[in-house]
Amino acid sequence: MLRSFLPIITLFIILFLLIIPAKARVYLDINAPSFVQLPIVLPKWKSLGKTPPSLSAKVYEILSNDLLLSGFFRVVDYSKLPPLLREKEGIPDPLLISEWIHSGGEMLMVGDVSLEPNTLQVILRYHLVDLIEQKRLVGKQIEGHVQNLRYLVHRISDEVIFQLTGEHGMNTTKLAYVMRQGESKEIFIADFDGANVKQVTKNQSINLSPAWSPDGKKIIFTSYLKRNPDLYVMELHKEGTHRLSFQPGLNASPSWSPDGKKLAIMLSREGKSEIAIIDSNGTNPRFLTKGHGNESSPSWSPDGQWIAFCSDRSGSPQIYVMDTNGSNLRRLTYEGNYNTSPSWSPKGNRIAFCGRVGGEFHIFTIEADGSGLRKLTSNSGHNESPCWSPDGRYIAFSSTRTGSSKIYIMNANGFNQRPLTPSKGGESSPTWSPRF
């Protein structure tokens, strides 16, 4: 699936104009609970020479959508510009910053694309300009096969986000999730922007709880293929899957250790679900919990020292934290009587979970010390299975707000909630890949 995507890519980036040196100024503190979206002016891109105009239009569409989806920007589309500026396309030579000051944005991004017809290599060039301080921030060129156009544009969006927020964007990441297919549930993959939807299991079984490995090469999931919920591993650049953990009873809900060497899982002992750690090849199970209740949904902390999980030992499901030996247990949630599905932010500070309010399930975050509870969803319907982006700036989750369950993405502060794909629904259990 990724075979056609990563290894064959021949990509190199040439810095041909770098005005700001290594350390970028942070225009947006996106970790603040709320922030104002930065308005960015996006004139038309230009197809140079004999490059088909459809190519620059395509680049514009992907780029504009990436910037929008990041949640950090208000994109000023070329159609919204004053008449004189509306007609301008590509990188003006010379680029007169003063012309653009009243274009309605604080940032300006211009670019062009050229296609080499023999090799089918495309060259994308762009400039980023600060209209308030009236200076160029960056000018770069990126080149690769036209087949990888989407990926190339995502790299550009990533770079722009890096320049303006101090951290790379998530545009080259992917999400895996479960999709109902009649009676069965199969695992699908989509890009962060909802493009390139691919079905990666085709076994007609019940396939659940995918977990993307930290190196991006594998997905571990639970399947009922052998009439028991066993753990399987799928290598994304190879065909086929193999069975990893198959004790009688549950082998489910895997969470990778940050170093990718171990998995925390739900494993049955004496007919009860416990939290256990296994090696990532499926061997050497060690139980961390000891039959105090039904234990579920382990999630590893980014420093590898702690595991958050859900337990009903107090009479109702609540979120707990313990160390990787099962000691130093503490309860995190006290509000509400149904809190499940913890997911530890890769930044380490917050834990997202699913809690019931009235008859509905909503996404919350809480500090790892149990303080600062925040409710992030408020639409009607059930919102479940939160999972963080690898940079900790987004949360993916499933929601039934429009009927059938769909994957949504939002900023970690709850802003900018949008469905991942335009699918009809039946989606659940998202897991996020690292950046590719």
Partner: protein
């Protein structure tokens, strides 16, 4: 002379009479062994009768037993037929093997977020245990199911616990643990696809499938 002859004749007759009268005395002596034989004979006949009675009794018992065996066999056959008639083979794409659902093994239900056996459901489990005792070859799998609400992973744990508490109840009724396996389907296999309390109540269940008969 005539008178004298007559007297002699009378005497003779008298003597003869005496002689004849002495005869029974002689017979009595002779008859003593003959009575013992008769008793022996009687005992023999008694034994014979008893033997015949015993044989008859044995024959009758055998016939009764045979009849009982035949009746049992007929009943077994009938029960087997009854079981066979109750079975629905269930083959699920993507899940290995064929199992059978039986109308003889009744599904039980649970309260939201609970796995304890309710009193009414305990009665159903007693009936199910009786069925398992009637068919000692049956091996079953108990499937624990949940309604759609709540998290998939938590519901897997809850379904596991529902199956286990059902299994433990059957064990307490004398069913061997070797005959029972469990599986949790969490919220993945609802009976009723609805999104309301009625559907949810139906879906929170422990269901029985036969894996060997």
């Amino acid at each position: 002379m005539s008178k004298k002859r007559t007297t002699i004749l009378i005497l003779l007759v008298f003597c003869l009479g005496l002689t004849l009268a002495g005869c029974p005395k002689k017979t009595v002596v002779k008859e003593e062994p003959s009575a013992a034989a008769r008793r022996e004979e009687a005992a023999r006949m008694e034994a014979e009768r008893a033997r015949e009675a015993r044989e008859r009794e044995a024959r009758e018992r055998e016939a009764r037993e045979r009849e009982a065996r035949e009746r049992e066999a007929r009943e077994r056959e009938k029960a087997k037929e009854e079981l066979e008639k109750s079975l629905i083979a269930k083959k699920t794409p993507g899940i290995e093997g064929t199992v059978y659902e039986s109308t003889l093994l009744k599904t039980i239900h649970f309260d939201f977020d609970k796995y304890d056996i309710r009193p009414g459901d305990a009665e159903i489990l007693k009936e199910n245990a009786a069925v398992l005792k009637k068919y000692p070859n049956l091996k079953i799998q108990i499937e624990g199911h949940c309604d759609e609400r709540g998290t998939e992973a938590y519901n897997l744990a809850l379904g596991e616990r529902r199956a286990t508490s059902t299994k433990n109840y059957l064990i307490s009724l004398g069913i061997s643990p070797d005959r029972i396996t469990t599986i949790s389907y969490g919220e993945e296999r609802p009976l009723d696809p609805g999104h309301n309390e009625e559907a949810w109540a139906k879906n929170r269940r422990a269901q029985f499938v036969i894996i060997a008969k």
